[in-house]
């Protein structure tokens, strides 16, 4: 019986959501009973009630658009520079051999910690936020672009050559279509890294869109508002990752 329930489509996810709601109800009861300090953790009902207020009073739509615009600029930079550098490394094998390890090392480096340096160079502005997002997402785009081009099946290239395609035709008709799904994986990863860092730096430097909202509410000690804003930003992030994943699956049906 238990196994049958575990195999149903909606059963386990419903249990997951139900246990989350139960935890929130328990929290509400514990705060109401004074077991948990209500000045540190606001009641879930207060947080839910604060969400419409912050949406109306704190220009959440404008802030969302501001963060989205920063993410758009970062993604444009990632696409142009990241894919460009990836193609360069694929085209020149020696350059790839010499620098691929460095690019991989950059992926594990805490780039976002350079934000004070970016503040000095670009000032407390949207440019700093965009550049941090760009720098944080660059490595996966480069590495996945190289991987995509290098993974093109040799037989496809041989077919192209047997048709006497020029190098440009070979690139447009064979290499690019074959590499595109892998390049998109890199772009998705890069954009996720960029998005995380954009919201994070907005919070840290108290500038921009959704990240700044949390900082402002926390500084005003608007507890339900702070928790509500964090919930809202987490929700936006989750929807963003979910959509990116769906688009990738749509582009890569065999995945």
């Amino acid at each position: 019986m238990r196994r049958a329930f575990a195999d149903t489509r909606f059963g386990p996810p419903a249990v997951g959501v139900a246990s989350l709601l139960l935890a929130l109800a328990l929290l509400e009861a514990l705060i109401a009973a004074g077991v948990i300090n209500g000045f540190i953790v606001p009641r879930p009902s207060q947080i839910i009630a604060a969400i419409p207020r912050i949406i109306v009073e704190e220009d959440v739509l404008d802030r969302f658009l501001q963060t989205a615009l920063e993410a758009l600029w970062a993604s444009l930079l990632l696409t142009v520079v990241g894919i460009g550098l990836g193609m360069l490394l694929f085209r020149f094998r020696l350059l790839r051999l010499a620098t691929e390890t460095w690019v991989a090392a950059l992926a594990s480096a805490p780039v976002v910690l350079m934000y004070p340096l970016f503040l000095v160079i670009f000032g407390r502005s949207a440019t700093t936020i965009v550049m941090i997002g760009f720098a944080a997402g660059l490595s996966p785009v480069i590495l996945k672009t190289v991987e995509g081009f290098a993974g093109t099946r040799k037989v496809l290239l041989d077919v192209g050559r047997s048709f006497r395609l020029t190098n440009t035709q070979l690139f447009h008709k064979i290499l690019l279509p074959a590499a595109l799904p892998t390049i998109f994986v890199g772009l998705r990863l890069g954009l996720i890294f960029a998005m995380i860092n954009i919201v994070g730096v907005e919070f840290l430097i108290n500038f921009g869109g959704l990240g700044q909202l949390i900082n402002e509410l926390a500084e005003r000690y608007d507890l339900p508002g702070t928790y509500g804003a964090i919930f809202f930003v987490v929700l936006v992030s989750v929807v963003f990752f979910f959509c990116a994943e769906r688009i990738e699956r749509w582009l890569r049906p065999g995945m």
């Binding site: 238990r2 575990a6 540190i40 010499a98 480096a109 910690l113 503040l119 991987e147 964090i230 930003v233």
Partner: protein
């Protein structure tokens, strides 16, 4: 992601060319940096000369204050990795071993994992205060998710024969974990810890830059606030070298055949 250097066998001549090219790139980058520093194109001190940065690194490494702050940050990160790592492994094993739990709760971990953790810092300050507690909590929050996801994946990849052998010997639940699950999951757990360490470093240090009076993050933001650019470059350089070095060291543990011969 493409493994670094995964480009087939390299002939000795090509290896020499690669080394020369690497040296040439480093020389060009350093020369361009020095030229920009001398040109005055950017605001003074934004790009200090390499000699000035070198001296700043020397001064930094010679100061006891740096090691005191380094030890504070290292302790915070170690604490975060210990708590977050243990919680991540336990949750990962539970989710990886039980299909029902995985279907009920794994999507929470999967989708919450990549959200920006630093936005939880105001909550952590309220819960754990402005001291090291909130920084450790930020590290825990950061490293829990990659370790749990990695441990759950590793748990599912354990050879079913090993699990059946354990059950046929009627071992206890703890023996199953210590004798079968954990040894068989060594590589994914170490990889998870490697990923977790990277994000724990970021989470802890970002929290230190936001609100702290000790630690490497505090030193970085202090250098920024007094516009001591050579010191900031020195701190960032040392931090990057340490992060990448520790990451590479843990990565070696995950690679089979790297352990010493018994």
């Amino acid at each position: 992601m493409a493994a670094a250097g995964n480009v087939g066998a390299i002939a000795p001549t090509a290896q020499r060319h690669v080394l020369w090219l690497r040296a040439a790139i480093i020389v060009v980058v350093l020369a361009v940096w020095e030229a920009v520093a001398a040109s005055g194109l950017l605001f003074r001190d934004v790009v200090p000369s390499l000699a000035v940065i070198g001296k700043a690194i020397g001064r930094l490494l010679a100061t006891p204050d740096f090691y005191r702050n380094l030890s504070i940050t290292a302790a915070e990160i170690a604490g975060a990795l210990l708590i977050g790592g243990l919680a991540g492994v336990v949750v990962g094993i539970a989710i990886g071993a039980n299909r029902f739990l995985a279907r009920a709760y794994e999507s929470f971990i999967y989708y919450l994992g990549p959200t920006p953790k630093i936005i939880f810092f105001p909550i952590m300050i309220m819960w754990f205060g402005v001291g090291p507690g909130s920084k450790v909590a930020m590290g825990v929050l950061s490293c829990f998710f990659p370790i749990a996801v990695s441990a759950a994946g590793g748990m599912r990849e354990i050879d079913k024969v090993l699990i059946r052998v354990g059950r046929s010997f009627r071992v206890t639940a703890w023996q199953m974990v210590s004798k079968i699950y954990l040894p068989a999951m060594r590589a994914p757990i170490v990889n998870g810890i490697r990923l977790g360490l990277g994000v724990a470093i970021i989470g802890t240090l970002l929290a230190e830059t936001k609100l702290s009076n000790r630690g490497l993050g505090y030193l970085i933001i202090q250098a920024y606030s007094v516009f001591d650019m050579p010191r900031m470059y020195a701190l960032l350089t040392v931090l990057f070298v340490l992060s990448i070095g520790v990451n590479a060291l843990i990565g070696r543990l995950a690679t089979p055949g790297r352990r010493g011969v018994d």
